[in-house]
């Protein structure tokens, strides 16, 4: 069998999240053996025992940064990687746990979950100090993103195969709304029901609207998301501005916070 002389070295890394993007790789059962044999997977601790790496051609990284320990590790991975790919909404936007600059809310949540009589214990150096959750791009340069909560095979495979072949991937510059039209679905918004399809990054084939369930925005906002028009539409069908913003912020993370923070209220 023909084989390349040197396979590209790949590392799969995970920070705070549900591990769903790493699991989505393991759930590509038909491509799984190819995935592990077409590149030299040097690091993927969810699937194989730990190996040290001093350099990777491609790093696939999921999760948000929630501790000082993770921040240090993130910077190490960036230094060791030629191409850095953020996998999934936690990595690209901060995920459902995103807090960004909101130190007040961060403190309240820590007290609610870990507090004893209002006091949060000091965690050991080894596990790191807690940080308000942020996406990877808040700290380092990200070369490519694969959106999704979790990522879809339809997005990952084209990007991954291009990268391990030394080619440049293309972006998805459109929203779920477009994919929903391709699926021939009836529009929730036109029937007065909420749906975040118009502002959400594509790549899922409009999965939820195709099941008669509205889009909750889990892939995060796409680059050209028109928030103002989305909020106007949601208000028109009876949501308050607060409801609309809360729904957008569920998966919107840093990108939506910037956009919404800058809009006139």
């Amino acid at each position: 069998m023909w084989q390349r002389e040197k396979k590209p070295i790949v590392g799969v890394f995970g920070f705070s999240g549900c591990a769903g993007d790493q699991l989505a790789i393991l759930h590509m059962e038909d491509e799984l053996i190819d995935f592990f044999t077409s590149a030299d997977i040097k690091f993927f601790h969810m699937a194989q025992s730990h190996q040290e790496v001093d350099h990777v051609d491609v790093a696939l990284v999921e999760g948000s940064i929630n501790t000082t320990r993770q921040l240090k590790e993130l910077k190490e991975i960036r230094e060791k990687a030629d191409v850095f790919v953020a996998l999934g909404t936690c990595a690209t936007h901060g995920g459902i746990q995103f807090l960004g600059e909101n130190e007040k809310e961060f403190k309240e949540r820590m007290e609610y979950v870990y507090g004893n009589d209002g006091k949060v214990p000091k965690f050991m150096d080894l596990v790191g100090d807690p940080l308000a959750a942020r996406p990877l791009s808040d700290y380092i340069e990200v070369d490519f993103v694969v959106p999704g909560c979790p990522i879809a095979k339809e997005n990952l495979v084209p990007i991954y195969t291009k990268l391990i072949s030394g080619l440049k991937p293309v972006k998805y510059p459109y929203s779920v709304c477009l994919e929903c039209k391709y699926q021939g679905n009836d529009c929730f918004l036109l029937h007065g029901k909420y749906c975040l399809g118009p502002i959400t990054a594509a790549g899922c084939d409009a999965r939820c609207p195709s099941l008669n369930v509205p889009c909750v925005g889990c892939f995060g906002p796409f680059e050209a998301a028109n928030y103002e028009s989305m909020i106007d539409k949601l208000k028109e069908i009876g949501l308050t501005e607060e409801d609309a913003k809360r729904k957008i912020m569920m998966f919107g993370g840093s990108a939506s916070e910037k956009a919404l923070g800058g809009m006139k209220k």
């Binding site: 989505a24 759930h27 601790h45 969810m46 194989q48 501790t67 870990y114 000091k122």
Partner: protein
């Protein structure tokens, strides 16, 4: 003598390590450290609607996304006094079984078994055990495809809703899964016999307590309104706080639990110890053949217990599909969102999962989620302590791997518990 450490536990879900602190050749302490950062899901669902809540809490964990979404729906429906149709109930049970196949196959074949062959991964077993690896991949695909059919996608599907399903699968779609289950049952059955021949190390034996949900009508199963304990006691799920006594420790972003001031186990092994005699069919035959008193002392048997549950799931799925097919489809029940408070529990593949919600003025105002890993981490530490003492005395060269195997046998779900082995010798 230096401390021992497993910096990062491999082949588990999430980030953890194990430290064993050794002083004067004695094991002073064992710390299963959880580095996975705090996401504080219970705090972030406050102020959200019930529908927003179920999308958010499913994302606590990708491997047991069904269990989280399912128990959240159960708890909220209990608080709102919503009764769904029999078809919806049975389809939910089916999606839960699909998760068992997916999660257990992943753990048994891909995460746990490679250790017994001293290999770093299941993929490394391809050259020597190609047929078994391909069977494993095929069974896992079955589980994830059945989850996709019922959930809407393999991970974090939005199809299960409060009051029903967005889309109900057709009988034809269900039939193909019933047929395949009959075929795959033979594979796992054969594999159980192989697993039973593997050497189970006896360096980690000690007595512990077990807990699991008590499924209704004396059946085997993965949910119930009360909790059985190996002490012979039984409590309603509403008493969960008394059973878990959650506390925070400084070496872990996962919380910890104790019952009667002692650690306890939950998961496949706990279920087989407590209700294994309720199994039926071939799963019962395997249980009768291989189960013995040693299982109660040694967490490594959890791997075999999971394999028996996979077999049981393959036997249960065709029976369940036959019951579902004649039932009429049901629309989603949209109920008024009233103030309420409720606790529900299901057995996630790795043990009891509790969700409690308080609903007021159309919003969730309080949430309490207790995951299996948060319940059994204390127990893992105790087993590692017993093993480390023994292995250090023997000067065993594989001590770290052996300790990691104990942690791995529990199938810890670290993302879930945020809310694994490093030996440090001084």
């Amino acid at each position: 003598m230096k401390d021992l450490s497993v910096e990062v536990i491999a082949r588990v879900e999430g980030d953890g390590g194990i430290q064993v602190i050794v002083e004067n050749n004695e094991v002073k302490d064992v710390l299963v450290d959880i580095f996975e950062g705090p996401r504080m899901i219970e705090a972030l669902v406050r102020g959200k609607t019930i529908h927003e809540d179920i999308s958010l809490v499913a994302r606590i964990c990708a491997i047991c996304t069904v269990s989280h979404r399912y128990v959240a729906i159960k708890s909220i429906e209990k608080a709102l006094k919503v009764e769904v149709s029999e078809k919806v109930q049975l389809l939910r049970y089916l999606m839960h079984l699909a998760e068992y196949v997916e999660s257990h196959v992943l753990h048994v074949y891909f995460l746990a078994v490679p250790d017994f062959f001293r290999q770093p991964s299941a993929i490394a077993l391809l050259p020597t055990h190609q047929e078994t690896v391909i069977e494993a991949v095929t069974m896992k695909k079955y589980g994830t495809e059945l989850m996709k059919l019922l959930m809407g996608r393999k991970i974090h599907g939005e199809n299960p809703q409060i009051g029903g399903f967005g889309r109900i699968p057709t009988n034809e779609e269900l039939d193909s899964f019933a047929e395949k289950a009959v075929e795959y049952k033979e594979w796992i059955s054969k594999f159980i016999d192989v697993m039973a021949t593997l050497d189970i190390p006896d360096y980690c034996e000690r007595e512990t307590q077990f807990m699991c949900c008590n499924p209704p009508n004396g059946n085997f199963g993965f949910e119930g309104d009360s909790i059985l304990i190996s002490t012979g006691e039984e409590y309603p799920v509403e008493d969960y706080k008394k059973l878990t006594n959650e506390r925070v420790v400084s070496h872990s972003y996962a919380k910890r639990s104790k019952y009667n001031d002692k650690p306890f186990s939950v998961g496949a092994l706990a279920r087989l110890v407590l209700i294994g005699d309720r199994l039926t069919g071939e799963a019962k035959e395997k249980f009768d053949k291989y189960y013995n008193e040693k299982w109660k002392l040694n967490p490594i048997y959890n791997n075999l217990a999971q394999a028996i549950e996979i077999l049981w799931a393959f036997e249960e799925i065709p029976r369940l599909i036959e019951k579902i097919k004649p039932l009429p489809d049901a629309e989603i029940i949209v109920s008024e969102v009233k103030d309420g408070f409720a606790t529900a529990a299901v057995e996630a593949p790795r043990g009891i999962l509790y969700h409690t919600y308080e609903i007021k003025d159309q919003k969730i105002i309080n949430a309490d989620i207790i995951t299996p890993t948060a319940q059994f981490l204390d127990d893992v530490e105790q087993y590692i302590k017993v093993a480390a003492e023994k292995l250090l005395k023997e000067d065993n060269p594989d001590t770290e791997l052996n300790l990691e195997m104990i942690a791995r046998a529990y199938d810890p779900c670290i993302s879930c518990s945020c809310h694994m082995v490093k030996l440090v010798k001084k």
